[in-house]
């Protein structure tokens, strides 16, 4: 384990002292999965705790509420795996916003939970998926495990909370 960690933590063609991360061994892979799983699940858990402590930051405002209504309408009126539906609730014959509630995991909680809980669960799932994608991107560019994981955590968390706390971005709103 330590040997694998040593290889991975300093990987990327630093010098002869370490071998690049692109030669994973089984132990190294397990170590990576362990660290990344811990990092992402830790973020998700922390997000759920935070959502419980600070209310109403997910699917907030008029847009967020409209999005909830559209999601629930898609589940109620759309056929299974159909996302190209006529809008049954708005306007004169336009299409329902083409959000796919069947394949986007962030919308699944709305099929199960009450809307307040679903909004928080949805944000937690989105955070996890987003962090994972950031991590994979960084790793594909040969960034080592630890900085990749930290960058993924930071990117997802900054985006997640920047609107509420810093008035920066409305990404996860």
């Amino acid at each position: 384990m330590q040997e694998a960690a040593s290889k991975l933590a300093h990987a990327g063609g630093w010098s002869e002292f370490v071998r690049p991360a692109t030669e994973p061994t089984r132990t190294a892979l397990l170590f990576e999965i362990g660290v990344v799983g811990f990092a992402i699940l830790g973020m998700v858990a922390a997000e759920l705790i935070l959502a419980g402590a600070i209310h109403g930051t997910n699917f907030a405002g008029g847009d967020g509420k409209m999005a909830q209504a559209v999601i629930l309408a898609a589940y109620k009126f759309g056929g299974l795996f159909q996302f190209n539906n006529i809008n049954p609730l708005q306007g004169l014959g336009s299409q329902l916003l083409p959000i796919n509630v069947w394949i986007n995991p962030t919308y699944w909680p709305f099929a199960i939970f009450d809307k307040a809980q679903a909004a928080d669960a949805s944000a937690a799932i989105a955070l996890g998926v987003f962090a994972f994608a950031c991590y994979v991107m960084a790793r594909c560019f040969d960034v080592a495990i630890l900085p990749s994981a930290i960058a993924a955590q930071s990117a997802s968390y900054c985006l997640r909370r920047s609107y509420s706390y810093c008035s920066c971005l409305r990404y996860f709103r």
């Binding site: 922390a46 935070l50 109620k76 006529i86 986007n104 994608a133 990117a155 810093c166």
Partner: protein
């Protein structure tokens, strides 16, 4: 919207996969290309509109990575992979669907009219967030350090982040300077949001490079004894777990130690208008397998009303007004040409017929569009609409001889505890039971609109076509519903709209749940 995270995530992974594509085996090329295609396709399937925004935002980093490193064979292979993905999207029809869906929106067809003001806050968070400039500075430093200390793919990531940021800044500048022209691409603000993870991860990579270089400088064995090295060697796995626990721990600490007032600072509860909601749920709420019973139209659109409308949508109560990116060109044209509404009021994402400036036409076409209830509330009357709306509502209620419901308004409207909604019921709304009696042909949309504006008197018992358009797509046909002299659009996807509404069996389309009868304008 939260779901955007999953729409944008595939672009990040696809970019990473592209970076790993080098000349070598065809199997590897095929696998990576298939992976990139699957990711792009998944993103499109998740939410096509936001995926298009993501594609526009991530196009520059993809191009930069495709050119890096600048070895001819590698560049060719990476562009070939991207070309294959685009070709596949074309072959399976996804590209055509994207084009059709995007084109079939008022924000594209009437861009020159509904384009929003070029306010700086639509360009970048830099202009409204006091913190964003610090983020850019931190990123810039990270990129600089990365350029100095990194090699290989990690450096490509830093270059991609830095150059994409440069392109974004140029785009922001163009957006702000070209005030007179229309802006068809996604607003730079959305591009900035989409690229945020690229900027942050690439900057973090730069800092990592700098730290690594610093560690390499300080590493000589004379600075550290053998026992210390052994300690670090053993401690590394534990240290990795501790390091990745820092960010979650900080988040949890903040959650636990937050000031009390923060708990509900951002919490905007759903409106509480139980009597109002229940009334509409009982009267016109939609359900699968149930017939359409009419829709509700509010007198005006503002933020508190939008919350009320959201609340009704949540309960499956249909509204004539619409809020979303897919407002159709026809409904917008109808609003502008027939009702003479200023469509700029709702911007590119809304459809909202207002009683002003054509109250007579408004009240005549309202039932045709399926409106069963016209609702006027108490609110700050900035546009002098309330009294006129009440007059029209009263007139409509007199025609229907139905009582006017007075229901309490929610506190979120901020107009006092005694504010009320006046709910006027219309007579004979079109709930799919109108039949066409006559087809009139117009050469242009303006002529069709003029026909709809003029009152006509057609015998209500006249229930079949007198004249049919023989034009297969019926581009120049309009029709009129009995007694109202105005017609609207029929629900349908772009291709279906033309075929189902305009062919001679339009009556069937109406009978099957269309809110109003067909009206086609040149598309």
């Amino acid at each position: 919207m939260v779901g955007n995270a999953v729409v944008y995530a595939p672009y990040m992974i696809a970019l990473g996969l592209l970076a790993r594509l080098e000349p070598g085996s065809w199997r590897r090329f095929g696998l990576i290309t298939a992976g990139i295609f699957a990711l792009l396709f998944y993103s499109l399937c998740c939410d096509l509109l936001w995926s298009v925004v993501g594609a526009a935002a991530w196009a520059p980093p993809f191009a930069i990575v495709a050119f890096s490193p600048m070895r001819p064979m590698g560049v060719l292979i990476r562009w070939a992979a991207l070309g294959c993905c685009l070709l596949l999207l074309g072959i399976i029809g996804a590209a055509e669907y994207i084009f059709t869906l995007v084109q079939y929106t008022m924000r594209v067809q009437f861009l020159a009219v509904v384009d929003r003001s070029r306010l700086p806050e639509f360009a970048s968070a830099l202009f409204f967030s006091p913190y964003m400039k610090y983020l850019y500075l931190v990123w810039a430093l990270g990129w600089l350090l990365g350029l100095l200390t990194l090699r290989g793919r990690a450096r490509v990531l830093v270059v991609a982040g830095m150059m994409t940021c440069g392109i974004l800044l140029a785009e922001i500048l163009l957006y702000l300077l070209l005030r007179d022209g229309s802006w068809l691409p996604p607003r730079p603000m959305y591009v900035e949001q989409s690229l945020f993870p690229l900027f942050l991860v690439s900057a973090a990579t730069g800092y990592w490079g700098a730290l690594r270089a610093a560690a390499a400088t300080l590493r000589p064995s004379h600075l550290m004894g053998a026992r210390s090295w052994y300690f670090w060697y053993k401690a590394k796995p534990a240290a990795a777990f501790i390091v990745v626990a820092l960010v979650p721990a900080a988040v949890v600490y903040y959650a636990v130690s937050r000031p009390l007032y923060i708990a509900d600072l951002y919490n905007e509860p759903w409106p509480k208008e139980s009597e109002f909601e229940q009334f509409f749920v009982d009267e016109i709420s939609q359900a699968v397998g149930q017939p359409f019973r009419g829709a509700v139209l509010f007198d005006f659109h503002d933020y508190p009303r939008q919350l009320t409308v959201d609340n009704l949508w949540l309960r499956s109560v249909p509204t004539i007004s619409q809020y979303g990116q897919l407002v159709t060109p026809q409904s917008t044209y109808f609003n502008a040409a027939v009702l003479k509404n200023d469509i700029r009021l709702m911007g590119p994402n809304g459809f909202m017929p207002l009683v002003n400036p054509s109250p007579e036409v408004f009240s005549r076409v309202l039932p045709v569009r399926g409106t069963r209830y016209f609702v006027v509330g108490d609110h700050i009357d900035r546009f002098n609409l309330v009294s006129l709306a009440h007059q029209v509502g009263q007139s409509l209620a007199n025609q229907s001889a139905r009582p006017i419901m007075v229901l309490p308004q929610g506190l979120h409207h901020n107009v006092g505890p005694n504010s009320v909604w006046h709910v006027y019921e219309l007579s004979a709304p079109n709930v799919g039971n109108y039949s066409p009696t006559e087809v009139l042909v117009a050469e242009t949309g303006a002529q069709a609109a003029e026909m709809m504006i003029q009152p006509v008197s057609i015998s209500p018992d006249k229930s079949c076509f007198q004249r049919r358009s023989t034009n297969r797509w019926c581009r120049r046909a309009t029709s009129k519903c009995p007694g109202f002299g105005a017609v609207c659009m029929c629900p349908g996807r772009p291709t279906e709209l033309l075929s189902s509404c305009c062919l001679s069996n339009s009556r069937i389309a109406c009978a099957h749940g269309a809110k109003a009868f067909a009206w086609c304008v040149p598309i």
